[in-house]
């Protein structure tokens, strides 16, 4: 038995908002793979919960009228990875969420829970950051949209106000069209492990594939929340597709990131793998985009 004080099951998003207003102490439970474990550990013992797990309207991936990819917040990782839209428009997101936990965790874990828990190691987070995703939130005052970069406030703290529910994650058309990306999860095990560092890169190449039109990069576990590396992005933009550019790009991430020492890894080690994963993910993204990296001396 879980130490739960009360459970209220919401039938719709509006119902969830109402229940959250009626029970201001209550916390949302989606798939519960964070919440239930924390109850078991005693960290959330005795909580009141509003379950949104039954709201099927919040499940599924579609293209909206603007061509943006819309992922319902309750969509499980395995359903995201299996979605033809994700496979066509942002395959790297499917690949990233396929690295979460193990198969059973990917069936219960939701992308909403993965972002709302505000955890820096969340496997979807760096890719969503690197693709300029937008978070849709519904609450007592209506619907609002927040860029994911602003949604993350601090470790475990996201921009959710009282009685608000995250309803979707949206990747606008201009954020994905022409971009190719790669995510590298560095962990001790290949399954059932939390990232020591996560690195998601994507690039848009010029029509002749010889120049980096745009490069975006985000890290997990390189700071208290998932973060972009703007210095690296600036350094690569407009440069030729070359080994030298990959080198310059990956070195520049050290100007932006601030990893810490933890039992999982030392700061110096995290910095080392940040540079290396940035380089590899950058090179892979270029290849996916049809570019060829010239082997000139660095």
């Amino acid at each position: 038995m879980y130490d739960i004080k009360a459970l209220y099951e919401a039938e719709s998003t509006q119902d969830a908002i109402r229940l959250l207003q009626e029970h201001p102490q209550a916390q949302i439970i989606a798939g519960g793979s964070d919440v239930l474990v924390q109850i078991r550990e005693g960290r959330r013992a005795g909580v009141e919960l509003v379950s949104i797990y039954g709201i099927d309207d919040l499940r599924g991936v579609c293209l909206d009228e603007t061509g943006a990819v819309r992922i319902g917040s309750l969509t499980s990782f395995s359903h995201i990875a299996a979605s033809p839209i994700i496979q066509e428009k942002i395959p790297v997101l499917g690949e990233a969420v396929s690295l979460v936990g193990g198969p059973q965790i990917r069936n219960i874990g939701t992308i909403g829970g993965n972002t709302c828990n505000g955890v820096t190691s969340a496997d979807s987070a760096s890719t969503l950051m690197a693709w300029d995703a937008v978070v849709e939130i519904e609450g007592p005052e209506g619907t609002r949209r927040v860029p994911i970069r602003e949604f993350y406030i601090n470790a475990g703290v996201v921009d959710l106000r009282p009685a608000e529910v995250q309803t979707a994650i949206i990747i606008p058309k201009e954020s994905y069209e022409g971009y190719f990306g790669n995510y590298i999860k560095y962990a001790m095990r290949e399954a059932m492990d939390i990232a020591t560092l996560g690195c998601s890169v994507n690039v848009a190449l010029s029509p002749d594939k010889k120049e980096i039109r745009d490069a975006r990069i985000a890290f997990g576990v390189a700071g208290p929340v998932p973060m972009r590396a703007p210095s690296a992005e600036k350094a690569a933009k407009g440069r030729p597709v070359s080994a030298e550019t990959a080198e310059i790009f990956s070195r520049a991430v050290l100007e932006d990131i601030r990893p810490r020492d933890s039992w999982r890894a030392a700061k110096a080690f995290r910095e080392h793998i940040a540079v290396e994963t940035a380089k590899r993910a950058f090179e892979k993204s270029i290849l996916l985009g049809g570019g060829v990296i010239s082997e000139q001396a660095v």
Binding site: M1, Y2, D3, I4, K5, A6, L7, E9, I29, G32, S33, L36, V37, R40, E41, S51, Y53, G54, S78, G101, G102, P103, Q104, I105, N107, I108, E190, A191, M192
Partner: protein, 163 residues
């Protein structure tokens, strides 16, 4: 405070079932305590080991981190549901025995249910895919190779039989 209960209706191993569930119960609690389906093991109870794995609407879930109330309206399959009409065990269970994929047996029902999910796809998975799909299970005895072999063998056998 007074305990909170909910009436649920679901299908368990092909039979329609009703239960009055405590909202604090996990699906493991429900299956073991109310229906005596003790193939569903309590291992870590935090989603790490896969000993409590069951199929819900055809997909694998660790029932220890699944609220019993969510089972309402769902179709649940546990290892007991693999039993044939005369009490026979299924091909995948036999393969686990033949390949010595069982030692203490604690992880076995959960691992077999992941294998069932794979076999239900009726396609040939690569070795790499099988390993990934079985990666949500901890086994402290067999070293995994025999489990992998049992799954692969059964998959190939079934595909062969379909030809």
């Amino acid at each position: 405070m007074s305990r909170q209960y909910k009436q649920i209706c679901c299908t368990i191993n092909g039979k329609k079932r009703e239960a009055m569930v405590d909202v604090r119960a996990s699906l493991t609690d429900l299956l073991r305590n109310d229906f005596r389906l003790t193939s569903v093991k309590k291992g870590c109870e935090v989603g790490e080991c896969g000993a409590c794995n069951v199929l819900i609407n055809g997909e694998c879930f660790n029932s220890c981190i699944y609220l019993a109330v969510w089972a309402d309206g769902k179709d649940i399959l546990t290892l007991e549901g693999l039993e044939g009409p005369n009490g026979e065990i299924s091909d995948i269970q036999q393969a686990f025995i033949d390949e010595a994929a069982v030692q203490c047996g604690f992880c076995t029902p959960g691992a077999i249910m992941s294998a069932v999910e794979i076999l239900n796809e009726e396609r040939e998975l690569s070795d790499e895919e099988i390993r990934i799909r079985m990666s949500g299970h901890l086994c402290r005895c067999t070293g995994y190779e025999n489990i992998f072999r049992a799954v692969k063998k059964t998959m190939l056998k079934r595909l062969e039989a379909k030809k």
